[in-house]
Symmetry: C2
Subunit: 187 residues, 2 copies
């Protein structure tokens, strides 16, 4: 059976068996239970995670105590606080597991080593980073338009199974709307 | 005198004279006058621009006719509609010159060729893409918090000379606030 990470990487670049083994040797695998966190606001972040199985949310709590969800993560998604990870500064967001999750992670140092040695992996992550940037650009556009409907559609496009997997109140926290507004969007 | 693009690239990676000449041979230079556009909503986008001199805005007009500014661009910034450029789809945004501008551009095909041949340039753009993603993540966070003050500070951090160079009404269109609110932030 092909390793799911290999399958995922080979959507963008192709790897020999040796190359994939080399890539994989830079990762560690961990399990987290529902409610456990992988990133905490105010801490340094040295790992980028790839989700084998499970569901996570990246969020922050505003001064009034309200939760805002920046993004969800499910199978085959990469997740971390990118500002903290890339610039080696403290995280502005937290990331928690919404379900029991199995993750692979790569440390900052290993990612630097791997991309410096393997142009292909630099290319792979460059592509992933562009895709992440585009997703955020679309999020900004829909936030500026202030259209909950558009954000809702964007969300379901990105994560089709999401409604089956996460509580309605989290969808509302992502959209920045009340549960009542969400029910209208949902109908 | 060192070419400004070389200076810019060498903030991240170092290049020999031959390498820089090779990189530069993939670019073309153009001049645009104030009010001219480089990207129009609804069109395909085949170029990424680097700003030698001048000031531009990336924006869209919502259904009610209101302008929302996604980002500004000034000297040493890269600008295009990244979704349209990377996915080769039609642009959701327009990009106009706010001042007479001198630009370098690289086509999609030349960028693909250059990054495939030169790991260093792949690395350079990967880093730039990460930085762009982080800027957008911070924009999303401040939009979610709905704090005009925070967005205003973020804007001045990104573009310190901006207030001297662009009309107040554009700053307001970036922040999504009225000119009256802007005056309060400004004081």
């Amino acid at each position: 059976m092909i390793h799911p990470l290999r399958q995922h990487i080979e959507e963008i670049i192709s790897l020999t068996d040796e190359e994939f083994d080399f890539v994989l040797s830079h990762f560690e695998q961990i399990k987290k239970r529902k409610y456990q966190y992988i990133v905490q606001e105010g801490e340094f972040v040295n790992k980028e995670y790839w989700i084998i199985k499970g569901c996570l949310k990246s969020y922050f709590i505003d001064d009034s105590g309200k939760e805002h969800i920046l993004q969800f993560g499910m199978e085959n998604w990469w997740i971390t606080d990118y500002e903290a990870f890339v610039k080696q500064v403290k995280s502005k967001t937290s990331i928690d597991c919404i379900e029991d999750s199995e993750l692979l992670y790569i440390t900052f140092e290993n990612r630097e080593k791997l991309t410096a040695q393997m142009h292909k992996m630099e290319r792979f992550w460059a592509k992933k980073s562009k895709i992440g940037r585009i997703a955020l650009q679309n999020r900004v556009l829909s936030l500026l338009k202030n259209s909950a409907r558009e954000q809702y559609n964007l969300l379901l496009e990105q994560y089709p199974q999401l409604l089956q997997r996460v509580p309605k109140k989290m969808i509302a926290a992502y959209l920045g709307v009340s549960r009542e507004t969400l029910s209208r969007l949902n109908s």
